[in-house]
Amino acid sequence: MYSDIDALRAEIQAAALETADDLETYRLRFLIRKSPIADLFSAMGRLPAEERANAGKLLNELRDLAQQRYDEAKAVIGSGTIVTRKATDDLTLPPAMQPLGSLHPITLTLEEIKQVFFRLGFSVADGPELEDDFHNFTALNFPPEHPARDMQDTFFIRKDHENPENDLLLRTHTSPTQIRHMLSRKPPIRAIMPGRVYRNEAVNYKSYFLFHQVEALYVDKHVTFAELKETLVMLAEMVFNRKVKYRMRPSFFPFTEPSLEMDIWWDAPGSEGRWMEILGAGMVHPNVLKAAGIDPEEYSGFALGMGVERIAKQRYGIDDIRLFYENDIRFLEQFR
């Protein structure tokens, strides 16, 4: 009996268990009901009583060993580290593409600009793209028949010859939303006006007949030009996420006085540096405050506006504005 146990133990330990076939052969030899180990259990009855406990212990150990080797080998083989893999199990194969959503570069840029304004305590206001003359021009201190109107070539929708303030047009800037916002609440007012605007201009790589703007308006007591300057510098540094070299030049907008344009110094690697205009701004003109029902002696304010496409073109190195509206997937997929 003991020699049989030793022989079987040696056989179990020596059994090669590398493939599923090996495993099956082993199972049929040691783990079925009629295995040599089972035979030995049956034969135990024939042993003298004082031997049985010791033999039983050895047999149990043998049986456990057989089972343990089987389990271990099965685990290894089953995990596929040994069996030959199927062709489709090849992880170097390219998986199917997942459809990925993406945001348009103008949205990405606009949202970043908005986040900057939100950090600076601005809310947001909304208005229509199809506007009337009053909100788009007259209330913004564009006199009728003034050459200032030529600065913004306008798409007209309907002419009202009786009362030109009722002319309908596509807004040429988001400033009419400033008027609507000022008429809808009392100062202090601190909000941005993002949105689509239209200019009746020929299409080329630099200009398109529609584009997007963000304007900002702050009306309160004691708002100064110096504070406007500081806000603009903060804004530029937060939008471009770095210190910027800038200059401010006097300019003209009918709805602000004094007015300015801000340039930042742009030196892309490999090209000569140049001043690039990024925004227009100024102190809200007293006539505009009045048109919006705000007393210009008590309140002052500043307004600023920038073109989103212009900033997006700069951020991404896009040289043709028309790409924004073609919706070519090969363009859109680049903005993650």
Binding site: S102, L130, E201, T224, F225, E227, P258, N327
Partner: protein, 804 residues
């Protein structure tokens, strides 16, 4: 507007380089967009002395010279000129010099060290034309100079160089539409004297008799002043070089000495003038009047134009001779035979000029200035100046006299300026005398009114300055915006909350991106034909002045933009599209959203097309199916938490979504005609939703309230039904929901089958139901009872049987 630096220097002392001057002009508020140098400064061209000259060994026409160019060792230069000789002082372009002549390929000539027929040549001895100093090419330029060798050419010859700046003139600055105006800004910034080309007091003219000329202004509101100045003995001919050069430098064509003189004064002083051939003026009578009817008139550009009623004309005794302030008439223009000239110098009111110029689409240098508002008090100075120039450029000419009709006199405006207001607006601490000095530099008269207040008299060339705030800008711009200190911090009042719309739009975009949609930006202006597929003709809104036929009509829906984008990409090889867009749509409506008669709403479009799955080793290609679009829309509603608010109305290939009584939108497959019209080659489907309906619904769900996680287990139960093929699964589902009651928590379809093993006209639908009670553990017996009832009633309603 083009401005010559040399010309500016006539009026203000300028010593800095051109780029610095340009920068000063820009920082004073007139943006210089470009600076171009005209003429070469001939850097590298120096005086040299020919020491020896010998015949070139290999070329008959060439000489080999040894030339001293002041560098110590003489250099050898091969020269082709016949007149070169030892002992001459010449001009030598040294190695590295760029000459103002072009090679045949258009590139500039750069002098290099070279070998010419085997002889080294280090430089070029120049002829006049090679230096751009003239046209002579007969031989090299021989100097009579005792300047040492190596002296730069600029020390021996006066070089005609200039810098021309392209200045962008804002519409509020009519004063800056001339050289004197820009020089004035520079004089204020530099604190330099302004040398005006006319005196402080108005010139006095010898009067003209009625026989010479009669002038009547019938519309003094449109013409505040008209001076006619008569010059006789004029010889029309080419202008002298100095005038030609100035005019061509700023991009004007020289015409003849008389017309050039008027242009010169316009660009000098900003006052447009017109020269009539006096002998062509009928009745020796000038009548300034507007016409009550349309007039056909040939302007001096040779174009016959229809001028609308109400436009102001200059007429003689018989006919119109000029379109006032815009362009003269062909019938009275200066010709080569003109000997007497009547100079017109007038002030025309801006609005009328602008109206006429706009209506006929003709902007001239003259109308550009009148419509901005020229100085009403420069008239006499300008006509005098122009006459003086004509005398200079046309020998023998003689001023006979002038007639000055001045019905409306413009007095300068006076504005009080408070020191405190300046500093309060700007956030500065400027002192009184700083402000006074700036304003005086701009020719404003300043009187002290009170301790802290000035009375400022605004010169009449600044019609844009009408209020105290305008003076603040004048102070700030000359002071330099960049010198105003930045406080380094800002203050703001308590912010108010963001509108819900803003939050909602972010959520909507995020949801679309989560579902794998790419955002597109479509055009809001469409061809009318494209728009007409999506709204009734009487709902469409058109631009009165579209730029092209492709952009006439406001989009009534976003769908056309999606179809265009889909076609664009399919035509470029894309296999599938999955787009979303958020944008405004426009339709005529009884009641407007913002402005009367216009419904303007923000829409969302979700659209897919082409393959919903491309083929790959692990999966086969799968075409677009509308049901996927339905799934995406459902997913979208889920992401926004509004699923339970949305009702649907399902038709064969469209779904209408409603929230309450409002139509939220539709999901659809475009018709084959539309696909053809938009050149879409693949199957597509889209859902278009009104955010004007969706966002208020989202707002009612904006607050999320936590619901406890179920304590009791749920039971899943599957049934398979056999029904007629015409029965809609949605109806069965609705029936089950109704019959099963509130313990039914969800229902899904796990199988749809028709074909083998089923009778003709039948299909099988498998439903998986999940039951749960929040207050106790449901038993299978509870569920069995519900199922029995469901199956029974399904049998009665739909003739459904259980599939065994």
């Amino acid at each position: 507007m083009k401005v010559s630096l040399n010309w500016l220097s006539d009026y203000v002392k300028l010593t800095a380089p051109a780029d610095d001057i340009a920068n000063l002009i820009t920082l004073a508020g007139l943006e210089v967009e470009d600076v171009v140098q005209i003429g070469s400064d001939l850097k590298g061209v120096v005086v040299g002395e020919v020491l020896t000259r010998v015949q070139h060994p290999n070329a008959d026409r060439l000489s080999v010279c040894s030339v001293n160019i002041g560098t110590g060792e003489p250099v050898q230069i091969v020269c082709g000129a016949p007149n070169v000789a030892a002992g001459q002082k010449v001009l030598v372009a040294t190695v590295g010099t760029t000459l103002p002549v072009s090679l045949p390929d258009g590139s500039p000539l750069v002098i290099k060290k070279s070998k010419i027929r085997g002889e080294v040549s280090e430089g070029m001895i120049c002829a006049e034309d090679e230096l751009g100093l003239g046209t002579d090419h007969s031989g090299i330029l021989v100097l009579k100079t005792d300047k040492p060798n190596g002296t730069p050419i600029s020390d021996v010859r006066k070089l005609d160089t200039d810098h021309v700046m392209d200045v962008s003139i804002t519409p509020n600055r009519p004063d800056a539409t001339c050289h004197l105006g820009i020089a004035r800004d520079l004089s204020a910034v530099l604190n330099e004297h302004l040398n005006k080309p006319f005196g402080a007091t108005e010139p006095v003219f010898s009067p003209l008799s009625e026989n010479h000329i009669k002038i009547d202004i019938l519309n003094p509101d449109k013409c505040h002043r008209y001076i006619g100045l008569l010059i006789r003995g004029v010889k029309v001919g080419p202008s002298p070089d100095w005038m030609k050069n100035r005019l061509t430098a700023i991009g004007l064509r020289s015409i003849n000495n008389i017309v050039d003189a008027t242009n010169y004064v316009m660009h000098e002083l900003g006052q447009p003038l017109h020269a009539f051939d006096y002998d062509q003026i009928g009745g020796k009578h000038i009548i300034v009047k507007d016409e009550s009817k349309d007039v056909s008139f040939t302007t001096l550009d040779g174009q016959e134009r229809t001028i609308p009623a109400g436009s102001l004309f200059i007429c003689d005794g018989n006919k119109p001779v000029a379109l006032a302030g815009i362009m003269g008439g062909l019938n009275s223009e200066i010709s080569d035979n003109t000997t007497s000239v009547l100079l017109e110098c007038a002030y025309f009111e801006p609005t009328g000029i602008r109206k006429t110029a706009k209506s006929i689409g003709l902007q001239s240098d003259s109308s550009y200035r009148f419509e901005r508002g020229i100085d009403p008090n420069i008239t006499a100075h300008a006509v005098q100046r122009c006459a003086e120039i004509i005398l200079k450029v046309s020998e023998g000419a003689e001023i006979i006299g002038a007639k000055d009709v001045h019905p409306i006199i413009t007095e300068p405006l006076s504005i009080a300026l408070r020191l405190a207001f300046v500093n309060r607006t700007l956030g500065t601490a400027l002192r009184f005398n700083q402000i006074v000095s700036i304003l005086k530099g701009l020719e404003f008269d300043v009187d002290k009114l009170a301790d802290e207040t000035l009375m400022v008299t605004v010169p009449t060339f600044r019609p844009d300055i009408t209020r105290e705030i305008d003076l603040v800008e004048e102070v700030a711009r000359i002071y330099n915006y960049n010198e105003i200190p930045n406080p380094g911090k800002i203050q703001f009042s308590r912010p108010y909350p963001l509108p819900f719309r803003e939050t909602a739009l972010s959520k909507i975009r995020d949801a679309a991106v989560q579902l794998g949609f790419r955002e597109t930006y479509g055009n809001s202006l469409l061809p009318e034909q494209a728009a007409s597929h999506f709204a009734a003709a009487d709902e469409l809104i058109h631009a009165l002045n579209p730029i092209s036929r492709d952009t006439t009509t406001m989009r009534p829906l976003l769908a056309p933009g999606f179809l265009k984008a889909a076609a664009f990409n399919f035509n470029r090889g894309a296999k599938s599209v999955r787009f979303f867009e958020i944008g405004n749509i426009f339709r005529k409506a009884e009641k407007g959203t913002w402005v009367p008669g216009v419904h303007e709403d923000t829409h969302l479009l979700l659209g897919i097309g082409g393959l919903s799955r491309e083929s790959n080793w692990s999966q086969s290609e799968k075409g677009f199916q509308l049901i996927e679009m339905k799934g995406l829309v459902n997913g979208f509603f889920d992401a926004l938490g509004v699923t339970h608010l949305v009702q649907t109305e399902i038709a064969a290939d469209s779904i209408i979504y409603r929230i309450g009584k409002s139509e939220l939108g539709t999901l659809r497959i475009p018709s084959p005609e539309i696909l053809k019209a938009f050149d879409v080659s693949q199957h597509v489907g889209y859902a278009e939703l009104s955010l004007g309906v969706l966002i208020p619904a989202m707002e009612t769900q904006a607050r999320i309230t936590y619901v406890p996680i179920p304590k009791y287990p749920s039971i899943e139960y599957d049934i398979s039904l056999i029904v007629g093929t015409a029965v809609a699964s949605g109806d069965i589902e609705a029936h089950i929901r109704k019959q099963a009651g509130k313990t039914l928590r969800s229902i899904s379809v796990f199988d749809v089958y028709e074909g083998k093993n089923l009778p003709e006209g039948k299909k099988s639908l498998g439903y998986r139901m999940v039951f749960r009670d929040d207050n106790r553990t449901l038993t299978i017996r509870d569920v069995d009872a519900i199922i029995t009832n469901v199956v029974n009633t399904l049998g009665k309603t739909f003739e459904a049987t259980l599939r065994s």
